[in-house]
């Protein structure tokens, strides 16, 4: 049974100030000394970039941007806030300026197959000029062609053709008509055709009675003549369609000739204007032929205003076929494009074909082809966030396909899925030469590298942005410079030298390392913004060290509700954590809670209970699925340490249980394994542990104390609890010696330590921890192999041997296991 003593006050054992394991105040926080830098405020520092500490990434960036080989696209990885996006963008823009502007691309109608629009490559800057010139041509032809077809010359020639046709009919008919008149036969028009009838000498149709009254001979002769004439009429009528066909052919030829002459001049002007641009010349040839074949488009439904100007309405779709759809256009001499696509949906990436509703039907044409980011970036650089691509259906597949095939094919979602679709366009693919830079966090990159075989082929270069840099003496000036640039870009007040030093210290604290500085600049920038706000409120022209400190404090206060509430639970006795006295089988462990980017340390009581058993240490957290695998690993390691160090020649006949008291969430990590060991040893030796100390650290099987994470928050968390209850000068935290280099403690903690009100101890071995926590000698084995009498280790071993003997007495297997 663990026993908790009620004794409070000074802890027994060493005096805090005398203990060699106690860290000096100078070890608790690394100060930034900028006294050697000759500037008063950052306003005096020159402008520059934010690339300090990222040489590795920049080297990769330079390489990827310069190498002109397929597949050498770039994956830019690193934690958010390192400024990698702006750095990559700025670098690529600077490089792109020196590159030639890529070709313009337009889509034009494919006169041979309207469903397969043609992609035409033009020199930079020519696309819009060509589009405007074509629109102008069509507008001009709207006047020129109708005028040509209304000209006297055309009308006369058309009239001549009609007259010839009419003449051929009349020629054939005249003889028939004369013959009919001579024989007193009238030609009658019926609703459906013609008929011949006997007529009087006046030309009137003879009435049946009158005809029947004629002599038979006369009637027969008339009947015979009518029959003959009718046959001749049939022959003539049969010829008319053929004559009419010849007439239409002649009119068609005339129209072609007229149109050819009319369009020649404006098209020749256009050709000479774009002389030397072969794709335009080829297209104009096809346009000319089509215009000649379809001049009727310009004649039908001509709308002329009072001034005689023919207006071609923008809603008039008859002339769409001659328009030019500018997909992408660049300014000649404007450099290569750098496109950043923030919404890389399939359509935004590879382009899309839009549709318009016409009389309830969706229709499209080449003018509704819209370019995507790849089109705009073609010949330059494309910058995209990989997470955004992966979130958009099919975008990743489309991007890889475009890069592998080195061409952009506009396909819809249904094309990719192979689903049924209405008749749509199949535009020419556009050749692609682009360098893609994908921005990603490391995990996404590693996952893709592991699971996507295309990655190695298509993204051969990785620019890995570091999240921290070594904090050497040489690094501080560079970092100060970076702070100056950040402040300038954000239009903040300049910082005093002391303020810069405080910010640098915060950058070290940000990475929890007194040897490194954070390169995740966003939190640094936030700190500057907040300090600037406070400086502004105070009416200062420069941000001072106090403003930085106040900003840090204010931020902590804003986010500190949960931390305060957790501490309140302890001070009110809801969560049981002692900060004074001693107890057997009970120790103060430390954990870190992280929520929404804010972390704080929280003390927890860890207890151990022992009894006779089969040599098993039960991790209660694990048993109830609240402990993670690393925590379990820590418990098993300490079991190994226990088995190897105590009564190694006797069967381990212990049954022990370990628990984080009042922990209702998950526990993971092995940073409590040292604390758990000490609780267990205390329970076995029945030696009480100091409750005014908290301990963090993991232990290995050899009894060495190993580094853990979150050391600063853990120390500060226990300090805050002690401070709230009243600092007793005996309180403190035991940490692994390997974590001393990470200490960047708060000013108030350092001050308390300096004043002897609080202590931080660094240990390397379990023995050091035992002695600090118990105030007793841990005990070493003597020449006889036994631990020093009266030592903690001796008591532990005695207890374990006692368990083994007892177990032997009870007989093997009675306690659910076999002694080894």
């Amino acid at each position: 049974m663990a026993m908790t003593t009620s004794r409070r006050g000074a802890a027994k054992g060493d005096k805090a100030g005398d203990n060699p394991l106690r860290l000096a105040p100078g070890q608790l926080l690394r100060r930034c000394d900028l006294s050697k830098l000759a500037f008063r405020t950052t306003a005096e520092l020159a402008d520059g970039d934010l690339i300090a500490g990222q040489q590795r990434a920049i080297e990769a960036l330079r390489f990827a941007a310069a190498i002109e080989r397929p597949g050498f696209n770039l994956f830019v990885i690193g934690p958010p806030g390192t400024g990698k996006r702006s750095l990559v963008r700025d670098y690529l823009k600077a490089r792109a300026k020196a590159l030639p502007a890529p070709s313009d691309w337009v889509y034009v109608n494919n006169f041979a197959d309207a469903y397969k629009p043609k992609a035409v490559q033009l020199p930079a800057g020519q696309a819009t000029a060509f589009r405007d010139a074509m629109a102008e041509l069509i507008e001009d032809l709207g006047t020129i062609l109708p005028a040509a077809f209304e000209s006297e010359n055309y009308q006369n020639r058309h009239g001549a053709i009609d007259e010839q046709f009419r003449h051929r009919q009349e020629e054939g008919f005249e003889a028939l008509k004369s013959e009919a008149e001579k024989n007193h036969i009238a030609i009658m028009r019926t609703p459906m055709g013609f008929a011949m009838a006997p007529a009087t000498e006046d030309g009137d149709v003879m009435k049946p009675d009158a005809f029947n009254a004629l002599p038979e001979e006369k009637r027969k002769a008339t009947e015979e003549v009518i029959g003959q004439l009718q046959d001749r009429l049939g022959t003539i009528l049969k010829s008319i369609p053929k004559w009419d066909k010849e007439r239409r052919q002649a009119v068609r030829e005339l129209n072609r000739e007229t149109a050819k002459a009319a369009v020649a001049q404006p098209l020749d002007e256009l050709k000479s204007r774009f002389a030397g641009v072969a794709p335009i010349q080829e297209h104009l040839q096809v346009v000319q032929k089509d215009l000649i074949d379809n001049a009727g488009l310009f004649i039908a439904e001509r709308r002329e205003d009072d001034s005689g100007i023919v207006a071609i309405s923008s809603s008039d779709t008859r002339f769409d076929r001659y328009q030019v759809n500018v997909l992408v256009s660049h300014e000649d001499g404007g450099g290569a494009p750098v496109i950043e696509e923030t919404h890389p949906s399939l359509g935004n990436l590879v382009g899309r074909i839009e549709h318009i509703a016409q009389q309830g039907t969706l229709t499209t044409n080449f003018r509704l082809i819209k370019g995507g980011a790849l089109h705009r970036a073609n010949g330059g650089f494309l910058l995209v966030d990989i997470r955004q691509i992966l979130l958009e259906p099919l975008s990743w597949i489309a991007l890889k396909r475009a890069l592998r095939n080195a061409c952009i094919t506009i396909e819809s979602v249904s094309d990719y899925l192979g689903a049924m679709s209405t008749i749509s366009l199949e535009p020419d693919p556009v050749p692609l030469k682009v360098k893609v830079a994908l921005l990603a966090d490391r995990m996404t990159y590693y996952l893709l590298s592991e699971y996507d075989p295309d990655m190695r082929e298509l993204f051969k270069v990785v620019a890995d942005f570091d999240d921290s840099q070594p904090w050497s003496q040489d690094a501080a000036p560079g970092y100060a410079h970076m702070i100056a640039v950040l402040a300038r870009r954000e239009s903040l007040r300049p910082l005093t030298r002391d303020a810069v030093a405080r910010v640098i210290e915060q950058a070290g604290k940000q990475v929890e390392d007194s040897q490194r500085l954070s390169l995740v600049l966003e939190p640094v920038a936030d700190l500057l913004r907040e300090a600037d706000f406070l400086a502004g409120e105070a009416g200062r022209k420069a941000i001072g060290a106090d403003d930085v400190a106040a900003a840090v404090l204010a931020r902590r206060r804003r986010a500190g509700r949960l931390e305060e509430r957790a501490r309140e639970h302890i001070t009110r006795g809801i969560a049981l954590v002692d900060t004074a006295g001693e107890a057997v089988g009970q120790v103060n462990g430390l954990s870190v809670l992280s929520l929404a980017g804010f972390s704080f340390g929280r003390p927890s009581r860890i207890t151990a209970r022992v009894r006779l058993g089969a040599g098993k240490v039960v991790d209660i957290e694990r048993e109830v699925d609240l402990g993670g695998p690393i925590h379990s690993k820590g418990v098993l390691i300490l079991s190994g340490y226990l088995a190897a160090n105590y009564a190694p020649d006797t069967p381990m006949s212990l049954s022990a249980s370990l628990v984080f008291e009042q922990s209702y969430g998950g526990v993971d990590g092995d940073s409590a394994s040292a604390a758990e060991l000490f609780a267990l040893l205390s329970a076995l030796a029945e030696v009480p542990l100091r409750q005014d100390l908290a301990i963090t650290g993991s232990i290995n099987q050899m009894g060495q104390i190993q580094a853990i994470g979150g050391v600063n928050e853990k120390i500060e968390g226990f300090f805050d609890l002690c401070a709230e209850r009243g600092l007793t000068a005996s309180q403190g935290v035991i940490i692994p010696a390997a974590n001393v280099q990470h200490l960047m403690l708060r000013e108030d903690v350092v001050e308390a330590c300096a004043a002897g009100k609080f202590s931080v101890y660094a240990i390397e071995t379990a023995e050091q921890g035992i002695e600090l926590l118990t105030g007793k000698t841990a005990g070493r084995r003597g020449p006889d192999g036994a631990y020093e009498a009266g030592s903690v280790n001796s008591k532990v071993e005695e207890r374990l041997v006692g368990f083994a003997m007892a177990r032997k007495r009870f007989g093997a297997g009675k306690d659910g296991g076999t002694a080894q």
């Binding site: 009419r166 009919q169 009349e170 008919f173 008509k177 009238a186 030609i187 009658m188 028009r189 019926t190 609703p191 459906m192 055709g193 013609f194 008929a195 011949m196 009838a197 006997p198 030309g203 009137d204 149709v205 009435k207 049946p208 005809f211 009947e223 009518i226 029959g227 009718q230 009429l233 049939g234 009528l237 049969k238 008319i240």
Partner: protein
């Protein structure tokens, strides 16, 4: 109120003579002119009695123009086909009158063409003759009879050549040296030019003709300025001189008095219309 009616002229109806196989070509032009003149349209479909008589002659066959096959003339079938042809022409008339905003009626009468036209028309009317398409139909019995009936009627006659459309152009008033109806020709020409917003061209056989008297006040009455008027002389009082004068002018309508320049046969007026592909309105002198 239409200025033409306001001017107190007796003309108030345009009778369009129609026969089987005549087609609807030119009907739109007729409707446009009727509207410009403020006339109501009366479509008069004549079922030629002579055609029905053919059914009693067993040796007479009908050669169908589409299939070029011959078949006997059957009275019942002919009646059906006549009704169908009348319906088609009625629809064509409605379609032509609607955009011109002309009011119209349609009637179908069986009888001999000349007597039907004579009965149906009055001195105040305009009889419109729409030339059918092709020389066969134009030379057929019904077309000849219809032209002749129109010429013999007391009405003014509007000749519309084969498939002529109303097109923008000058309204040409022809004043010959001998006619006494210059005033009426001018009044009608000014009214139509004003209504259709076209230029008025006056071709006069004798310069300073008395027929032009009152032209200024007429133009003023119809709010037509000097820019809308062009007066040209005819070199002689002859059809040849008229041809010569018409040559450079883009016309929409030619108006003259019946018998002017010696054009006193229906064939001559129709040929004038056909040559220029423009309607010709021959006004009956007494009509004014």
């Amino acid at each position: 109120m239409n200025p033409a009616r306001k001017s107190g002229k007796q003309i108030n109806r345009m009778v369009i003579g129609l026969c089987a196989g005549g087609g609807g070509g030119g009907m739109a032009a007729a409707a446009h002119i009727a509207a410009a003149m403020g006339l109501d349209i009366e479509g008069l479909f004549i079922e030629d009695e002579d055609l029905f008589g053919l059914a009693a002659l067993p040796f007479v066959t009908e050669l169908q123009s589409g299939t070029l096959t011959a078949r006997p003339v059957d009275r019942t079938r002919l009646e059906h086909e006549m009704r169908a042809a009348a319906s088609a022409l009625q629809r064509a008339l409605a379609a032509a009158a609607q955009p011109a905003r002309a009011s119209w009626r349609f009637a179908s009468v069986r009888g001999h063409i000349e007597s039907v036209v004579a009965t149906a028309t009055a001195p105040g009317d305009v009889v419109a003759v729409l030339e059918p398409a092709g020389p066969f139909s134009q030379a057929a019995h019904a077309a000849v009879k219809l032209r002749r009936a129109a010429m013999r009627s007391p009405a003014s006659v509007l000749y519309i050549p084969e498939a002529a459309r109303w097109r923008p152009g000058a309204v040409v008033a022809v004043l010959d040296g001998g006619s006494e109806s210059h005033g009426e020709v001018l009044r009608k020409a000014v009214a139509i030019a004003a209504a259709s917003r076209q230029q008025l061209v006056v071709l006069e056989a004798i310069s300073g003709s008395a027929g032009k008297a009152g032209l200024s006040s007429l133009l003023e009455a119809y709010a037509l300025g000097p820019a809308h008027l062009l007066v040209r002389g005819l070199e002689a009082d002859s059809p040849e001189a008229l041809e010569h004068a018409l040559h450079p002018i883009a016309q929409s309508l030619i108006i003259l008095a019946r018998g002017a320049l010696g054009l006193d046969e229906e064939g001559e007026l129709m040929r004038l219309a056909a040559r220029h592909q423009v309607p010709v309105l021959a006004l009956e002198p007494k009509a004014g």
